[in-house]
Amino acid sequence: MVKKKPPEELSYEEAFQELEALVARLESGELPLEEALGLFERGQALAARCNQLLEEAELKLKQLTIETDEGEHAA
């Protein structure tokens, strides 16, 4: 299996998508128990990461400087 990124390096979207795929895999059954346990642990970590991101989320705001063709700056 490809070495997975640690959850704390994932964006919410990445973590959520991986979690979704993982749960679907786990639900399909037919996995060696050790692998199922591994998936479960990874899933727990991913879910925790998502939760953490949601709780800590604070809208970030940045402002660009716009150069118009005439060389003026807008705003």
Partner: protein, 411 residues
């Protein structure tokens, strides 16, 4: 050609009602005047308690009676003042009771807007013909816009509306504001530059192009051809939210998605964090349940195997053997015990026999033991004694002495 005398000719005589109705029908069946704009100056404006609006439109040579019903009045953004130059939309009809033809108005706007509107219609038609508004050009919005570019005035209410919605719905996003004036002569170039800079420097997942409500002139930058083309050319999908629900601009048509207001644009562009949280919660419980089922399946399989193992276990045979050993031991003990009893019985029998044949028992039956008094030897034969010998006779209950007499003396 037929000739009619005055008396032959029977003229049709109309009632006033019939005539007015006839004329009304004539007017109303004339499409050109059933959907028209009329320009003029407002006079004799009155708005009685009924809420309907009555006024006369005038130009230097003529006048036209106008009425607008209360329900239409309520929808107007612009209620004209006496003497104002306006353009009025409506249909021509006849007020039969008064024999009065008039304009039934449904829309009033200040004069001059018409020219702008014409320009709007022409530009829209041209860009539409070019294919700029084609449905196939519209791109789907990303489900998770992590970087959201916002093109608007940094001081406008629209920016605050957008930020408020984003904070509430999707605080995971990063907002990059590309500030620009959104009204006035500088606005179109500013908007174009903001869109281009965003696409080039930030590559956002989508762009919100927004502005709060205003007059048609205020919103005019969004009807600028350059803006429309910049919107269509944007690499990131563009959501417009310009003015109010009723305002449609060329930029709206060129955008991938048109929202009625800035807030609505922010809502359309983002998933709701409440939905996200709910789906995360659902995933977590599915995760736990899936593992639980895996474990349960295995536990059941394990229990099955353990049961079979128990059946096949040597322990069963061991305990069998132990049981058999027990039984044997018991049998051995029993048989030993039995043997002893037999022996004891035999011994008893022998003892009894012994006693039965022993001297006391014999003596008791009437026999006697005879010993020689001289040496105590047991007399077993008559040859052992001679006449005159002293003997001792022993019976079962005692003994006495006697003397041997000759055998002839019997009797």
């Amino acid at each position: 050609m037929a000739q009619f005398s005055l008396f032959d000719y029977q003229p049709v005589v109309w009632s006033v009602s019939d005539l007015n109705r006839h004329i009304r029908v004539l007017l109303e069946s004339e499409p050109e005047i059933q959907d028209l704009w009329v320009a003029g100056e407002v006079s004799n404006l009155s708005r009685p308690a009924s809420g309907h609006l009555y006024f006369t439109l005038k130009d230097p040579r003529a006048s036209l009676r106008c009425v607008m019903w209360r329900s239409d009045v309520a929808r107007q953004r612009h209620i004209p003042a006496e003497g104002q130059a306006v353009e009025v939309h409506g249909r021509i009809g006849l007020y039969e009771a008064g024999g009065l033809y008039q304009l039934y108005a449904d829309l009033i706007r200040p004069a001059g807007e018409g020219a702008l509107y014409q320009a709007f219609v022409r530009l829209k038609a041209r860009l539409e013909a070019e294919g700029l508004f084609e449905a196939e050009r519209k791109r789907p919005l990303p489900a998770w816009p992590r970087r959201i570019g916002v093109v608007t005035s940094p001081t406008g209410a629209a920016l605050q509306d957008v930020l408020n919605v984003l904070r509430r719905r999707f605080p995971l996003a990063e907002v990059i504001l590309a500030p620009t004036p959104v009204q006035g002569e500088e606005a179109p170039a500013g908007i174009v530059a903001a869109l281009e800079t965003l696409n080039r420097q930030v590559r956002p997942d989508l762009i919100l192009l927004v502005r709060g409500g205003g007059s048609i002139e205020d919103l005019w930058a969004f009807n600028d051809e350059r803006v429309a083309r910049a919107v269509a050319a944007s690499q990131a999908p563009v959501v417009t939210g310009v003015g109010h629900e009723v305002d449609f601009t060329i930029a709206d048509f060129a955008a991938d998605v048109r929202a009625p207001t800035p807030s609505a644009a922010a809502e359309l562009a983002t998933p709701d964090v409440a939905t996200i949280t709910a789906s995360l919660r659902q995933l977590r419980s599915r995760l736990a349940r899936a593992l639980g089922e895996q474990v349960l399946d295995r536990r059941m399989a394990l229990e099955g195997v353990v049961a079979s193992l128990r059946v096949a276990s040597p322990r069963a045979r061991i305990s069998d053997g132990r049981q058999r050993l027990d039984a044997l031991t018991r049998r051995a003990a029993a048989s030993v015990k039995h043997g002893l009893a037999l022996r004891r019985e035999a011994l008893n029998r022998l003892t009894q026999t012994l006693q039965a044949v022993g001297p006391p028992a014999v003596l008791a039956r009437g026999y006697a033991l005879v010993t020689r008094q001289a040496d105590g030897t047991l007399v077993r034969s008559v040859a052992q004694v001679s006449t005159g010998d002293r003997i001792r006779v022993r019976l079962h209950d005692g003994s006495f002495g006697a003397q041997v007499k000759p055998p002839a003396d019997d009797g």
